[in-house]
């Protein structure tokens, strides 16, 4: 999916509408193997931009290119599962009827991680003991890491993570940072939505108007 000549993600003059509220125009670019954070206050539209890139929210105008391919071609754009992305939403999206391991295996079907790699990632997130459990048996912080684990196990080259550090203590945050760094070294790119400005990675600050 990833083409060496193109950035992992190019967003040009993107305008997204959510109800009567319009967000944008926004322009930025994310290189392969890099991390980029969208920052801004509450309600500024970070999540909406991520959802639009994922194909979960309609785009009013602008361009979105993932690995050089336009995602807005056709009447509805490219379907989310064809975009080569992995997605972590702000709200809990774990499927309660499946264990964490089963969910990881499900998303890993299309070019994702192998069973051994899933266990290794779970270990790095301190989740190895918990992946047999269902979401209902996890605490808030564990569920957040479980969802990140599921996201990372998918096959997409671009990770879209909305507030991945929510409900994490220092140790959890450090583990997630290390995992993201590891994924970037493996050639994946990461776009995050964060509340606060982040000094550890490049940021695009969203502001009113």
């Amino acid at each position: 999916m990833t083409q060496a000549n193109h950035p992992a993600l190019e967003v040009g003059d993107l305008i997204v509408s959510r109800g009567n509220h319009s967000i944008g125009p926004i322009t930025f670019q994310l290189s392969i193997g890099k991390q980029l954070a969208l920052t801004g206050g509450n309600g500024i539209g970070k999540s909406s931009v991520l959802q639009a890139i994922a194909g979960l929210l309609p785009v009013t105008s602008g361009t979105i290119r993932i690995s050089g391919e336009s995602m807005l071609s056709g009447s509805d754009g490219v379907e989310p599962w064809r975009r080569g992305i992995a997605w972590l939403g702000q709200e809990r999206g774990l499927w309660p009827h499946l264990s964490i391991e089963a969910q990881c295996r499900l998303v890993a079907r299309d070019g994702g991680k192998t069973a051994e790699q899933i266990v290794a990632v779970a270990r790095s997130l301190d989740m190895a003991e918990l992946i047999q459990r269902r979401p209902g048996a996890l605490s808030g912080g564990e569920a957040q890491r479980a969802e990140l684990l599921r996201t990372v196990c998918g096959g997409g080259a671009l990770l879209l993570l909305d507030e991945p550090f929510a409900a994490q203590n220092q140790d959890g945050r450090r583990r997630i940072e290390a995992l993201l760094e590891q994924e970037c070294q493996a050639g994946r790119s990461v776009l995050l939505a964060l509340h606060q400005t982040d000094s550890e990675r490049e940021t695009v600050a969203l502001a009113e108007n």
């Binding site: 959802q51 992305i85 709200e91």
Partner: protein, 493 residues
């Protein structure tokens, strides 16, 4: 386009079982030769259409109000009594109307009953109380999927306020219930006939069999025009509502003083009806042996018919869910239409158009009957599908959309939809088991059909045996509901 073609299989049954034979019959009977202005028929026919729509609408509203009341109270109480009460409430729906009316007549006297119900109000009341459990089951089924965080937030409120909030949250689903019930009740003929009210189903059946067939088709089309707004409301407007993810829950709120008492009062008429049936069914000492053998035959017949009813209902519900999950509104509309029209219409068309083309060896199998009944359950499937696809939290649904469509649909969203789909299947099974119109026309010789047997027993005034079969149906249905629905109670308390 590819997406639409992929969902076409969900319409296959209804195309073969309804649209193809019905359109062929319409052409054969000369509907299109009639003037366009004739659709809806004469003024007396228009009066029947109006009466039918009025009865169906009022019954649907009343049934939903009663069902909402039951659902909110059931959600606000806890303990084993809740399951018992839910089972009892469902029993009024599972007992076939003919047996119920006959048993009530037998106990309180034919003249008393007739004087009480012999008008539209009587028909509305009987229909509403028979269908209220369906509304209750639908609202409770949707409520199970309410996100646990919202459920917990309710527990911080006082019990009375929490119940009120829950009732308000159930309003979008209640509106959908009204729409569905109008579609299901529009072709009800059995109960209104007990109240001496002629509905469109009876007239269409009469015209198609012994009268002017073209007029029958015109009446059916007129009926479609009359219910078109409801169909559009059900299929178009509600899926766009973002509020539809609200709902109650069956986990239970802080106990509301008086809720149990209200539920006991609510279930008293049900208990009385079951007792009436039991008294009627109890055999005299001299008939004990015969009654015992008839009872065993009844049990065998019901259990022989159950798998077929389950298949018909499951197909309808899965097709409805598949179309709703893919957002195929036109498909849902096509699926709903056969429900609105009398069951005899589709059955007659199947008999005239499809049956002659089948090999003789298939005459002994109830394939066409199953197909007709599956088509008739279209609205149940569509409504269950709409509710099921809307109550799954958006975050879960979004996550599943990043999987390949087939995986996301069948491994993630379908299992999550089961708490709504399974009760809908049970409702469908109950409808198939009590269905008379298509069964009367299409059941192969010797086919064990409890509904047909009941019909014949009542015709020959064998009320005792009829009451036995009715009780059995209620018992089996309640057990089925308990077996299917009980494991679906949420565990994330």
């Amino acid at each position: 386009m590819k997406r639409d073609i992929g969902a076409f299989w969900a319409l296959l049954a209804v195309m073969i079982g309804f649209y193809f034979p019905v359109i062929s019959m319409m052409i054969h009977d000369g509907l299109f030769e009639a003037a366009a202005g004739d659709i809806g028929g004469s003024s007396s026919s228009q009066l029947v259409i109006l009466t039918t729509v009025r009865i169906a609408t009022l019954s649907a509203i009343l049934a939903t109000l009663v069902g909402l009341f039951d659902a909110v109270l059931l959600a606000g109480t806890r303990g084993p009594a809740r399951v018992l009460i839910a089972g009892m409430l469902l029993a009024t729906f599972l007992i076939p109307p003919a047996a119920l009316a006959s048993a009530v007549q037998g106990v309180i006297g034919s003249s008393t009953l007739r004087a009480t119900i012999r008008d539209e109000l009587g028909a509305v009341c009987m229909l509403a109380f028979r269908w209220a459990p369906v509304a209750c089951a639908m609202l409770l089924g949707a409520a199970v999927l309410w996100p646990v965080q919202q459920e917990r937030a309710l527990r911080g409120l006082s019990p009375r306020v929490a119940l009120f909030v829950r009732a308000r949250c159930l309003v979008p689903q209640a509106l959908r219930c009204v729409g569905l019930l109008i579609l299901l009740l529009i072709c009800a003929s059995e109960i209104p006939s007990y109240a001496g009210v002629e509905t469109i189903s009876q007239r269409v059946y009469a015209r198609l069999t012994v009268g002017n067939a073209a007029e029958g088709w015109q009446l059916a089309l007129g009926m479609l025009v009359a219910v078109a707004p409801v169909l559009l409301f059900l299929v178009w407007k509600l899926p766009l509502s973002g509020r539809s993810q609200g709902g109650g829950t069956v986990t239970g709120l802080p106990r509301l003083r008086g809720a149990d008492l209200l539920l006991v009062i609510r279930s008293t008429p049900v208990l009385a009806l079951v007792l009436i049936l039991a008294i009627t069914a109890w055999p005299r000492a001299s008939e004990m042996a015969v009654a015992g053998s008839e009872f065993v035959d009844g049990v065998v017949g019901i259990f022989q018919e159950l798998p077929r009813a389950f298949i018909a209902s499951s197909i309808a519900v899965i097709c409805g869910w598949r179309l709703a999950d893919g957002g195929h509104r036109w498909g849902l509309l096509l699926l709903c239409l056969p429900t609105v029209l009398p069951g005899s219409l589709g059955a007659l068309a199947l008999l005239h158009v499809v049956r002659p083309t089948l090999p003789l060896i298939l005459d002994d199998l109830p394939i066409l009957l199953t197909l007709a009944q599956t088509c008739k359950l279209g609205a149940v499937g569509a409504a269950a599908g709409l509710v099921a696809s809307r109550v799954i939290p958006l975050s879960e649904s979004n996550s599943s959309r990043l999987l390949a469509p087939v995986t996301g649909r069948w491994r993630v969203r379908f299992p999550r939809a089961l708490p709504v789909l399974l009760p809908a299947v049970v409702i469908g099974v109950a409808l198939v088991m009590g269905e008379v119109e298509a069964t009367l026309l299409m059941a192969p010789a010797g086919h064990p059909s409890p509904a047909l047997e009941l019909h014949q027993l009542l015709h020959f005034r064998n009320d005792e045996q009829a009451a036995r079969i009715a009780l059995l149906l209620a018992l089996v249905g309640s057990m089925l509901a308990a077996i299917v629905v009980a494991p679906l109670r949420r565990k994330d308390k």
